[in-house]
Symmetry: C2
Subunit: 191 residues, 2 copies
């Protein structure tokens, strides 16, 4: 039995080491092609802590892996290995023919979320790849006590994801009945 357990452990380690999303040291690689994934939404100047409007609000664009999106469309739930990318871009105004409003320019930051219950007891882990021109190639997950983890766990509409801000997915979650009970109760008028 001991030998069997050892073999099992060894096989599991080998399996985890082969995971294309993670290095053997458990670091997650920054996705290179997320701009070709499925787009979910953009916000501008989104702030969850303060009601002070930014004079230079950044856009945030949300993308999800196509295979995870297709599962969500059919079930209203996220499969294991779901990956989200949050891309933050500088906003500008009065460029080219633009005279009001704001448009997107440089990348300011890239973050990611991964659903992987085998690696993370909470199921979801968060990754910050730094900012601007010095984006990290790979990184370990933020601690489970991070602001990202705590806020998503407490406030997300579906599992740990802010589907309340993804208009096309919110309709699907309502139709499939997969909104988190706490979210449904706290936001009865959410549409």
């Amino acid at each position: 039995m001991t030998r069997f357990a050892f073999l099992l452990l060894f096989s599991l380690s080998a399996l985890l080491a082969q995971d294309p999303l993670f290095s053997a040291a458990g670091e997650f690689s920054r996705p290179q092609n997320y701009r070709e994934w499925i787009y979910l939404t953009s916000g501008i100047g989104m702030n969850y802590g303060s009601d002070t409007e930014s004079a230079q609000p950044a856009f945030d664009n949300v993308f999800v892996k196509p295979e995870a999106y297709r599962v969500f469309v059919n079930t209203g739930q996220w499969p294991e290995k779901t990956v989200f990318v949050l891309e933050v871009r500088r906003s500008e105004s009065h460029g080219s023919i633009n005279r009001a409003g704001r448009f997107q320019t440089d990348v300011l930051a890239v973050e990611a979320t991964v659903k992987d219950s085998a690696r993370y007891p909470e199921g979801w882990a968060y990754f910050a790849f730094g900012s601007g021109d010095a984006l990290l190639e790979k990184t370990k997950s933020l601690p489970q006590k991070s602001a990202c983890n705590q806020c998503h766990r407490a406030n997300a509409a579906v599992e740990n994801t802010f589907v309340q801000f993804y208009p096309t997915l919110l309709e699907i979650a309502k139709a499939k009945g997969t909104l988190n009970p706490r979210f449904s109760q706290s936001a009865p008028s959410a549409k």
Copy 2:
């Protein structure tokens, strides 16, 4: 020869009638799956005519057909049958945990652009599918004197497209040398 010309005309008509993008009457069908195309950018409150900021600025999300995107990545130019969709969505604030900034909600309008030099002398045509809950299933192109046509023709960075506002494509157009000469000269500091 007359008979040959008639046959040629007949064949051309049959070919055009079979075009999956257009009805026999030349109406363009509103794309149903554009949210699964390639995302290019979003703006908010974008105004080209007035510098008055809107109190209720709308988001606009731009998508392009994946096959056209792949050609552009390789060449910096758009192939025939390129289709863009501009989706306009209402913005809201102070929903769920949001305390500042704006996020996207309902669809306000859907518009499209098609490159089809066989149908349109200018190469590009513009389509407005109306607004909100009453989107048209198909429509004819706007007249070539429309504000859309005139503004794109005069101000676009690549062919008739506002690549100056699509940050990932602007880099490609600069690398491939496909910026319109007038755009390059009028915006020497554009990056």
